[in-house]
């Protein structure tokens, strides 16, 4: 990684007035370039305004004063003030794009977090399966954010890291950063002073409320946090945990929970079914029989889907062996199915 070391001149002014604290390894480079442009601009601005004020006072119309002839153009002067700024903007351009390319290419071994944006909420998925609505990161490690949007454009913006990238529906985008300081200590978020995460691309009604908080932990603490977050079966109410599993284990692909019976879904809808009777065709038989949806029926449908086939549907459900879905998880899903009401 190339750093813009030559430009790292942090002034107190720019750090406190213009910027939030620098909390990623990019931030120093970005602020260095910002300060470089800032002082360059200040120089030219003072030059222009000083000349203008001086002329305005010195040559101000007053009795006895009149204009004096002077050349109305001067080739070498004009070429000078075209060429010098051209060179300077060339320098700015160069540092701007090298810094930018660093920000676009995440290292191979980066820790990858999936960012889902939808109106008007962020959610983050971690490699171990944990899923949150606030962002948690390990300090000192490169983290790659793989972004997706469910509806309209959003933009993932963490000012403290100086990173921003639009989330575009129907396409993946990504950005990355190395957080360089923790926001506090401990797995729990008490005692942390998190950073802001904003949605920066206008996305409708609650755009201004599409914000989240960013927590940065010591790497070891982050591991522990992620572990705990992934074990949500123990930490969340069963129906909620079941809803998460229903989503994550792919039941949603084949079952609607909105009463949708269309062929978009291979299986029948599962909302409002609890305790109701249905016609099924048991294995090896051809005549339908009635069965009520209760705990054992659901468990059987998951472990041995071929045992009873719902009439009018084709067999085709994945067989969920204990290694794919353990008993505790089935219990949670059952709690979830119980909670699903008929959609009228």
């Amino acid at each position: 990684m190339a750093h813009i070391t030559g430009l790292d001149m942090h002034s107190i002014l720019a750090d406190t007035l213009f910027f939030p604290p620098e909390r990623s390894t990019f931030a120093g480079d970005v602020d260095g370039l910002f300060n470089f442009i800032y002082y360059l601009c200040l120089f030219f601005f003072v030059l222009i305004i000083a000349a203008m004020t001086y002329f305005a006072i010195k040559y101000c119309a007053r009795p006895g004063h009149s204009e004096k002839p002077s050349p109305s153009h001067n080739e070498s002067l004009e070429i000078t003030w075209s060429v010098i700024p051209s060179i300077l903007v060339g320098v700015i351009f160069f540092y701007g794009f090298t810094g930018y390319l660093n920000m676009r290419e995440a290292p191979e071994d980066a820790y990858e977090i999936q960012v889902y944006a939808k109106k008007w909420q962020w959610s983050f998925k971690y490699p171990n399966g944990a899923e949150t609505t606030e962002l948690h990161l390990p300090a000192g490690k490169p983290v790659k954010f793989l972004e997706q949007s469910a509806d309209v454009l959003h933009s993932f913006y963490i000012p403290a890291f100086r990173i921003k990238m639009d989330c575009v529906p129907g396409r993946y985008t990504s950005t990355w950063a190395i957080p360089n300081a923790t926001t506090g200590s401990g797995i729990s978020i008490d005692g942390h002073q998190p950073y802001h995460l904003f949605c920066a691309e206008y996305c409708g009604q609650q755009h201004s409320q599409m914000r989240a908080l960013v927590y940065v932990h010591e790497p070891a603490e982050f591991e522990a946090w992620a572990e705990k977050e992934a074990n949500f079966l123990e930490t969340k109410p069963p129906a909620e945990a079941g809803a998460i599993l229903f989503q994550r284990k792919g039941c949603v692909q084949c079952h609607s929970v909105t009463g949708d019976r269309s062929t978009k879904y291979l299986g029948p809808p599962l909302n409002g079914q609890w305790g109701t009777e249905r016609d099924v065709i048991p294995r090896g038989s051809s005549t339908p029989e009635k069965v009520m949806m209760d705990e054992n029926y659901v468990r059987e449908s998951i472990r041995q889907p071929m045992a009873k086939i719902v009439q009018g549907r084709k067999p085709g459900m994945t067989v969920f062996t204990p290694s794919l879905l353990n008993d505790k998880q089935i219990t949670a899903i059952i709690a979830y199915l119980k909670s699903l009401k008929d959609e009228k």
Binding site: F18, F19, P20, D29, V30, L33, F34, I37, Y38, F44, I48, I49, A51, M52, F55, A56, Y59, H65, S66, E67, P69, S70, S72, H73, N74, E78, W81, S82, P85, V89, I92, G96, F97, T98, Y100, L101, M103, V152, L153, S155, Y157, P159, A160, I163, K164, D166, V168, P169, G170, R171, H196, F198, A200, E201, Y202, G204, Q205, Q206, H207, S208
Partner: protein
């Protein structure tokens, strides 16, 4: 050079009284509504445009007041209402006000006079352009009072495809306004190309004409792209053709490319005429020929052409490839140089001058101050690494207000004060003119400078509510906006009051050398009795102040190469 003689259709009720001027030569509503006179059309545009400016300004003040408190000041402004307000503020200000401002109002009035002609090349088209503007504006207002547009003036997809608000009415409005702009541009191109008087070669044109000409080229070339883009958007909403909608395989980012392909050049439609005014003001009020005429003239054209190649700088974080981002960034820097050259030239024009700090010059000096800040802060946004952080924050909001309002609007008001005596034949009150210029200047900086700071601190734009740590900056900005509002209303009031009690204006109150100052103020219906003699637009040697007239007259003895013995 072929010369097109403009249609000399005479307005309804026209009288040939030699003492009448274009304002008094005919009376009645129809004599204005059906006029083909470029001066009257310019005046009607002026009134319409200031109506739009006032509306946009009131919306802006409402937005600023709402942002006094982090969770919003007024309970009657909901989140949705806020989104509608900022959309309308942006749409009204860009499409109804700033794009037509200088060319359609001042350009229409001044340009034919500058070439010593009776009218623009196509007077009927000129009137049509005005009515298209009126109809476009009505469409916008329909969108305003019906379901209320909330897409932002940028209409980004896929939000603009999904939203329940009246996007179609608004796009129709913008579409019609686009034609208004094209008509004006076409007219000016033909006028400049074919109607210049003998002796006025390209490099003897006033720089305001160069600027209007460069603007007209952009209007004619870029605006159709906006029209097509908006039609596609309407087709997407109505027919679901699947070009921008990702759920049908379309590409929402494509819309941004189309949109900015117009809208970046459009920022030069907005600023170039302001730069043109600046060149006139700096020279006239310094009583010096403009410094580096050729560089300024060429830089207008350079800006117009390079401006077409940089649209991607609005999309550095949109997911476009790093390669295109790098190319667009490089091109963007190349377009900054011509603007810098102009600023240096304006300042150099003052050297050894005899500077008259009349109100237009005060505006011109404010312009240099504000536009320099606006232009220089563009460097932070053109550089890729810093833009990633600053994009879509208040830093951008501050940047473009410094350029558009601190640049174009300040130049527009300065130009209006400059040409006001010519347009209406009265002198405004110089003292109050300067006072309100100062109020505008202070209010402007107080409004927008804090926005740079909160932007680089990370405050995103288009936020109805915000994190409490930004409140100080928002509050400063709101106080500034109120000051700015008072200053603007005062500046316009000074002009309007002068209509009633202003001293009668001489033909040439400022001692300018361009042709519009050779006819009486206000100009007669036919503009010039005799074709005026064309000299250098910035040669002030023969012009002497005559206290009896209260203005400048050509000294017949001192005139060097003058054979103007009419």
């Amino acid at each position: 050079m072929a010369t097109i003689t403009p249609d000399t259709q005479i307005d309804i009720g026209h009288n040939d009284d030699p003492n009448s001027n274009y304002l008094t030569s005919s009376r009645g509503f129809l004599s204005w509504a059906l006029t083909l006179d470029h001066k009257r059309i310019g005046v009607m545009y002026l009134v319409g445009i200031f109506g739009a400016f006032f509306l946009g300004g009131v919306l802006a003040l409402l937005l600023r007041l709402q942002l006094l408190m982090p969770e919003g000041t007024f309970s009657f402004i909901s989140l949705d209402r806020y989104n509608q307000l900022f959309t309308l503020h942006g749409a009204v200000m860009t499409f109804l006000f700033i794009i037509p401002s200088v060319p359609a109002a001042l350009g229409n009035f001044v340009l034919p006079l500058m070439v010593g002609a009776k009218d623009v090349a196509f007077p009927r088209m000129n009137l049509a352009s005005f009515y298209l503007w009126v109809f476009g504006a009505i469409f916008f207002l329909i969108a305003l009072v019906t379901t209320q547009l909330d897409t932002g003036w940028t209409f980004y997809t896929p939000y603009s495809i999904e939203t329940q608000t009246n996007v179609i009415a608004a796009t129709c409005g913008a579409f019609i306004l686009g034609f208004s702009s094209i008509f004006t541009g076409l007219n000016f191109i033909v006028t400049v190309n074919t109607m210049r008087p003998p002796g006025m070669t390209w490099f003897k044109m006033p720089l305001f004409m160069w600027a209007i000409y460069a603007t007209a080229i952009i209007q004619v070339l870029a605006t159709p792209v906006l029209g097509i883009t908006l039609l596609l958007l309407t087709a997407e909403r109505v027919l679901h053709i699947g070009i921008f909608d990702p759920s049908m395989g379309g590409d929402p980012v494509l819309f941004q490319h189309f949109f900015w392909f117009y809208s970046h050049p459009a920022v030069y439609i907005m600023i170039l005429p302001g730069m043109g005014i600046m060149s006139e003001l700096m020279s006239v009020y310094s009583r010096k020929p403009i410094f580096g005429y050729t560089f300024i003239a060429y830089s207008s054209i350079a800006i117009a052409l390079l401006g077409f190649l940089v649209w991607g700088h609005h999309m550095f974080v949109s997911g476009q490839s790093p390669m295109s981002a790098v190319i667009f960034s490089g091109l963007t820097f190349s377009v900054s140089i011509p603007s810098a050259i102009k600023v240096f030239n304006w300042v150099a024009t003052m050297y050894k001058g005899n500077i008259n700090l009349a109100t237009p010059m005060c505006y011109a000096l404010s312009f240099i101050f504000l536009f320099s800040i606006g232009g220089l802060t563009g460097l932070f946004l053109g550089a890729l690494a810093t833009d990633i952080h600053l994009h879509d924050t208040y830093f951008v909001v501050a940047h473009f207000h410094y350029v558009m309002m601190g640049g174009t609007v300040i130049a527009f008001v300065g130009g209006l004060y400059h040409w006001w005596p010519k347009m209406f034949g009265v002198m405004y009150n110089e003292f109050w003119g300067r006072v309100f210029c100062a109020v505008v200047f202070i209010g402007f900086n107080l409004t927008f400078f804090p926005q740079f700071i909160m932007g680089s601190q990370g405050m995103p734009r288009r936020y109805a509510t915000y994190a409490p740590e930004f409140q100080l900056y928002h509050d400063l900005s709101t106080i500034g906006a109120l000051t700015l509002g008072i200053g603007m209303v005062g500046a316009i009031a000074v002009l309007v009051i002068s209509l009633f009690n202003g001293r009668k204006a001489p033909a040439n109150p400022w001692g300018a050398a361009t042709l519009e100052w050779t006819c009486t103020s206000p100009p007669p219906y036919y503009n010039f009795e005799h074709a005026p003699h064309v000299g250098s637009p910035y040669d002030y040697t023969g012009l002497k102040y005559d206290p009896q007239v209260g203005g400048y007259v050509r000294d017949p003895n001192a005139a060097p190469a003058s054979e103007s013995g009419h």
